[in-house]
Assembly symmetry: C2
Homo-oligomer: 478 residues x 2
Amino acid sequence: MNNQNTNAVPPDLLDVVIVGAGISGLHAARLLRPDFRIAVLEARERVGGRLCNHRFANGETVDIGGQWVGPGQDRMYRLIGELGFETWPLYDSGDNLLWDGTRGRRYRGTIPRIGPLALLDLGQAMARFERMAKSIDPATPWTHPRAQEWDRQTLATWLQRNCKTRRARELFAIGIGAVFAAEPEELSLLHALFYARSGHSLERLLSVTGGAQQDRIHGGTAGLCTRMAMELGDDLHLNAPVHSVEREPEGNLQVHFEGGVLRCRRLILALPPNQALRIRFSPALPASRDQLWQRMPAGSCIKCVARYERPFWRDQGLSGQVTSAEGPVRVMFDNSEAGRDSGLLMGFLEGETARHYSGVDPEERRRDVLDCFARYFGEQARRPLEYVDRDWSSEPWSRGCYAALMPPGVWTHYGETLRGDDAPIHYAGTESATEWYGYMEGALQAAERAAGEIREALRYSVDSTSLMQRRTREVPRV
Amino acid sequence: MNNQNTNAVPPDLLDVVIVGAGISGLHAARLLRPDFRIAVLEARERVGGRLCNHRFANGETVDIGGQWVGPGQDRMYRLIGELGFETWPLYDSGDNLLWDGTRGRRYRGTIPRIGPLALLDLGQAMARFERMAKSIDPATPWTHPRAQEWDRQTLATWLQRNCKTRRARELFAIGIGAVFAAEPEELSLLHALFYARSGHSLERLLSVTGGAQQDRIHGGTAGLCTRMAMELGDDLHLNAPVHSVEREPEGNLQVHFEGGVLRCRRLILALPPNQALRIRFSPALPASRDQLWQRMPAGSCIKCVARYERPFWRDQGLSGQVTSAEGPVRVMFDNSEAGRDSGLLMGFLEGETARHYSGVDPEERRRDVLDCFARYFGEQARRPLEYVDRDWSSEPWSRGCYAALMPPGVWTHYGETLRGDDAPIHYAGTESATEWYGYMEGALQAAERAAGEIREALRYSVDSTSLMQRRTREVPRV
């Protein structure tokens, strides 16, 4: 790895520069590097982006960013295997808890035990949502016959109309919070439907076993990224935030970053939209691209983890999973790593709650979160060996999690822009994925698409200088 | 004016640096300069921001950006007077045209002649909207008893429910397009209500005589800015885009711009949110500020002006004002300057239409716009002496017009952040105004508030070094 970045004179012409060493940028690099001269620029002092390990005092690590893989995410399981990593299933035995303000009720599966009317109501609303989602083509949501109608309203408006009981609406909203790290009014109905469809179904996004929360990775999701980064050697530049990109008269690009400049024929931006927006382009990007990025804010999430000597809640037959109408922590999981003694409880602060706790003193935040843990799992939960949380909205190079979300009108007005490139600039990152948008799987799918665009473009290129410089291999693969 | 910006070593400590020489930044400078050491940094090679003059071949100029002032905008009329400028009323005689696809109907006033049912429907919806708007405190829209309900839905949802006839909905939407340069689904209902309230009423925002489109300024609104800039002399730096702001250990700020750095005790950002977002702050701004800016995209507008030998439409008793259900130009005005021979017709491409025409070849855009002009005013309108248009979404230092808009959920989740500062960083610009948000008047009001915050802060400052450096005057005024 290259931490110097002291080159001031425009260097040789690379084939591809990739901005962002999250899992999407690293995957694109991995796909292109055998056949092209590439470099990866990363703003942080580490790789992984929204994937990050926290190391506890006892040496154990935990994912403090994105952490789960599940069925249907074939690229992820393939990558995990290729890199020699192993998964384990999240602890999903025993009873889940539904907290309704005064007490916890035990239940199993995805849908909590609530009164029969509310249950029927919730079931009907979810079934209706799933049917609508299923009818969407995730590659082109704006072409759906009802796209206009669905993109004109917020998910909150739809919930108001389609859940008759307050209870069902509340539970639906908790699910939405867990999936989007946002409130229902922040989302276009069409976006919520697309998002569910791009990850198969809402049911799958909400589920543990058989769903998007099924498996964890030993060594952490950030471990995957570190392994991919090692393959890159000096082609990876850390501490290298890109501030501007300039096109030379002949069409090549100069990528200016803190401490240096690289020249390339093609560029991949593997960044969340709110970060891509902060790079200055000369000539300026098309209006539609800039205005699209202005309309893709990131969700709001603080991830909180407490480490205990052992997972004591399991003794009481509890799974560690909580759904609570009462905050601040509304969703919890048993985050303990298989094969270790420590018990880890993990809770999310999401949407409006995350916004509030972003501005709160860290000690107060810790206290309020552990208050919640203790309410759900008893006094023992109030005194962990260690506690850590991460406010992703405060991270300068992410500024929100899990992913960018679409307010009303964005898909129907800017959908085609999102799906295109601005050659020689191409887009990766989970926000440009058609499958599993917002997930690591989407990040890989987007990287593969972007790498394919670049292969296509450079294969037919007649720039002989660069062709000569290029490492020669037999047949380009994607 | 200082076009050099070649200073590389941190210079003396200024009291205030103002970023952005639009009318808000320039007004703040004007207020503070008598008593403090200030500098203004402007990214463009000109001042004015979203205010800009276009010079025709015959030497006449026209506002190609913001242009109108009207009753209730007392600060603007005062400034116009102080700077020695004069206004004239927009040509508002004769009949307006309502175009319904096959023919134009003539009407007078703000509301076109439509069928009695649609008219009743539109009237009722507008009255309901006005009543709701009137009940809002524009300083704190999120405290309204129904704020949550109104911020959970789009204006489109509200229109769907409150206009029974398609015709009324269509006309309401054209009005919204003219006021916001956006589609109804892009706006939170609460934001639309706040916006109308902050400029008195929707009726006033839509009206010519007695409304926000009443008066123009000889010499252009940009002329005001140029005059204000002349007062600044070397304290104004053009071609000086700010890329980062760093806080020194003692709390002063270093403002890094292309070609130099300035040091100051206080900073005013007089920028649209989408531009402020692109500056890098160290330490990072609070999460709530960054996430707020991510959620305040700019509207979409292309302003089109054609110059003719004379205002020939007046001969037919036409005002030059058009409301059309058919695009691309849905709203038009007679933009001729009083006392000149030329006739100017001006039309807006707004919202979705602006997005489309942003990506279209300029020749095709001109042709389609003039097709529209000819449809409304006859063949003579197809052959102007000159034609000019400006796509504000393509302007790198604006990236949209007229102002930033709030999707659902932003006011209720981030309203308090919008109304606060991050001392020593303060906010001006029309998007931080409580009165006439989105208008020049709002830009002045915000500047006065920001200047007041700074006076307050620096008055009680104990930094004696800076006090000694400060130009001494008697009593600080705002």
